[in-house]
């Protein structure tokens, strides 16, 4: 009996061993080459551009890079699963909004010194981008914090118009330096909203905006904001905020210059813009490769302003960080600086038309190029350099408080509830969630 149990036991151990072995991935090849894992997200364009850049990195350094690509939706889930399984990739994308929890959980490596030694000229990278990944233990985004990553890019969310459509309608083209006032903007939109083929149904609209991505610009240009400066107090119940949200809803319900109300939340204003049925539409650098193939000409302008606080928009960013558990920290940091700041690697990514150059001098050349499309690329750089702002939840611990604003907003967009009433009702809920996230942040930092 004893021997039987022993044999079975041995078998079990062997099986368990085999299971664990298959779950592990080898770090070093037999021939002594080092292998890094790099986890990122993106579409086919992005993947191809990164493959080319990384091939050149492997050629130059002899370090193999194993790429793990996911689509944007699944990235956070898969990364977290990898972390839970103790299988953190050596180098991976990091979002502004989750940086703090990854740092306080000891997953991200402090790369301040390594980057300083590597000789990368941080002054030549967008300051907003670099600072996004600085965290001093309580505040993120300050120039004094330790560096936990470098920006993969900055994403200036600009505004564009269908040049062909405006010219055909005989409308004076908007000034690329002087933002339209809200009244001027709505006026042009009203002119553009028509029935072009005479079948009785409107088939061309002035604009088509999405509340989740476009309200920021309106609120900020009206002097409102989501929180106070140190992100402790939710301030969506101010008159400035309410006025901006009301004007957003009025675009559909009062001015009637957008496709029907519910469309704002679906993809199809995007599709209508691409079909040439919409006059004004947001343009991010990630859209350029698609928009450049469209059948009409377009160009960039500053966002129209609701109040007198100046044109405003958000500037996103995605970072690249290094695992604190990596066996090859030096190589991993090298890969990060290569992807973020190597001129040649940047060129590969920029040629793919998926992002604004990370290096300021490269970007300036890129914007000034004669055949630049859209012509006013400089607008992207102005946002990155001068007036772009972080998304409201970018530097808070978690985004639940922020998402709460969108959850029950539909009646406002449909004109069934006033913005003022809705915001007064929602502010306490958002405040409670923000308080909770602050408590969680404190606990994470303490533990």
């Amino acid at each position: 009996m004893k021997r039987t149990r022993l044999a079975a036991g041995a078998l079990c151990v062997a099986m368990a061993g085999a299971l664990t072995l298959t779950a592990c991935s080898g770090d070093s090849g037999d021939d002594g080459t080092k292998t890094l894992t790099f986890m990122f997200r993106g579409g086919p364009d992005e993947k191809a551009a990164y493959e080319a850049a990384i091939d050149r990195y492997t050629e130059a350094t002899g370090v193999e890079v194993e790429m793990i690509v996911t689509d944007a939706d699944q990235y956070a889930t898969k990364l977290q699963a990898a972390v839970a399984g103790n299988n953190v990739p050596d180098v991976f994308y990091i979002e502004q909004a989750t940086l703090q929890s990854y740092v306080s959980s000891g997953i991200l490596m402090d790369i301040t010194d390594e980057v300083a030694e590597s000789g990368v000229d941080l002054d030549n990278i967008w300051q907003y981008g670099v600072d996004s990944y600085r965290f001093d233990g309580t505040v993120q985004g300050t120039p004094d914090g330790a560096l936990y990553g470098l920006p993969k890019d900055v994403g200036p969310f600009s505004f564009g118009y269908n040049k062909t459509m405006l010219e055909e309608a005989g409308i004076e083209l908007p000034d690329p330096d002087e933002p339209l006032t809200w009244e001027e903007f709505v006026e042009i939109c009203k002119t553009l909203t028509t029935d072009t083929d005479g079948d009785g149904a409107v088939d061309q609209w002035g604009t088509g905006l999405n509340v989740q991505w476009n309200l920021q610009s309106m609120v900020w240009s009206n002097g409102g904001d989501w929180t106070n400066a140190d992100h402790t107090q939710v301030t969506v119940d101010t008159p400035e905020f309410a006025e901006a949200l009301q004007k957003f809803a009025d675009l559909t319900n009062v001015d009637q210059v957008t496709p029907s109300a519910s469309d704002a939340a679906t993809l199809d204003t995007y599709q209508r813009w691409m079909a040439g049925e919409i006059g004004f539409f947001p343009v991010g650098p990630w859209d350029v490769s698609v928009y450049n193939d469209l059948d009409f000409e377009y160009d960039l302008i500053p966002w129209p302003t609701v109040g007198d606080a100046g044109s405003a928009t958000w500037l996103g960013s995605l970072g690249i960080g290094v695992s604190a558990m990596t066996e090859h920290p030096q190589e991993a940091v090298n890969l990060v600086t290569y992807l973020s700041a190597d001129a040649e690697a940047q060129q590969t990514l920029v040629d793919a038309n998926i992002q604004v150059p990370n290096l300021i001098d490269v970007a300036e050349e890129w914007a000034a190029a004669e055949d630049a499309e859209p012509a006013n690329r400089q607008e992207f750089l102005d946002i990155a350099q001068d007036y772009g702002r972080a998304m409201p939840a970018a530097f808070t611990y978690g985004a639940e408080w922020y998402d709460e604003l969108w959850t029950n907003i539909q009646p406002v967009l449909d004109g069934e509830q006033t913005a003022e009433d809705y915001l007064a009702e929602t502010q306490p809920k958002m405040q409670a969630l923000l308080d909770e996230s602050l408590a969680n942040a404190e606990m994470a930092a303490g533990g």
Binding site: M1, T4, A7, A8, L11, C12, M15, A16, L19, D73, A76, T77, Q80, V83, A84, T98, S101, Y102, S104, S105, G106, I107, P259, S260, S262, D263, A265, T266, D268, G398, A399, E400, D403, W406, T407, N408, Q410, N440, M443, A444, G447
Partner: protein
Amino acid sequence: MTEVAADTAPPTAPRASAARPTLRDRRARNRLHRVEHRWALAFVAPPVLGFLLFTLYPVGFAVYASLTSWNGLGPMRFVGLENYVTLLGDEYFRLSMFNTFFYMIGIPVGLVLALLLAIALNRKIPGRTAFRTIYYIPVISSLAAIAIVWQFAYNGDFGLVNQVLSWFGIQGPDWLQNTATVKPAIILMAVWKGLGYSMLLYLAAIQSVPASLYEAASLDGANAFQKLRSITLPMVRPVTFFLVVTNIIAGAQIFTEINIMTPTGGPEMSSASIVWYIVRKAFRYQQMGYATAMSIVLGILVFVITLIQFRLNRRNSFSIE
């Protein structure tokens, strides 16, 4: 247990020791079967090990995780039942639980349709093989792909559904952006997707009903409806039971359709299912401990419902010799 133990058993216990093999007998048999025993253990071990490693351990871990405050990345902090108390007051938890059970309206609808289809396709109609195949195609297709196609179909402006409605002069709503229509829209899709699977099982069950029963019923003058009610329905009851149980378990876990068709949980969380909410809490808001507590509650609910179903079915079970 040895013979001694058997002998000291209370006199009221049935004395079966005479019928039992003696110790010596068993030793002999053991020796004889030892090799087989060993092999048996070796073959039994992998699934048992798999169960311990991939089921029991994770479940135990989940129970523990549900008692902690944990962001899914760093250390866990034990908080006792705090997560469970929180979820009692969580409006979105209640809402997504309600939505999940609301979606189950599709189960009986789907079963009735599947049974009717199976009866129809059991007849010798022309092209029935083609029909069987057509109805089965949604089952083998990727759920994600189907959800994307239906998302287009439901689009308020250019979607197929509203275009068809417009032929009859009906102005359809924007199905997925409307609190009143989003759940029925998803139910319709889920029923369509599951139809082929249920139909196939019903078809197999119907074909195994002895023809003699129908013949006997015909002799007694039963009409088609009476045959359906008194022969077909009772005879396919095991399949119905199986489908109800598996559909409820799967229905409690509805996620992909919701996540793809309404990535924000629909207007005012009107389409959010419980699993969708759990995933959002766990991975977007990094409240892994709380999300795990919700999963445990969901697991217990599904277990209890399944238990009740088995109880109910015991009364209904019958056999035919």
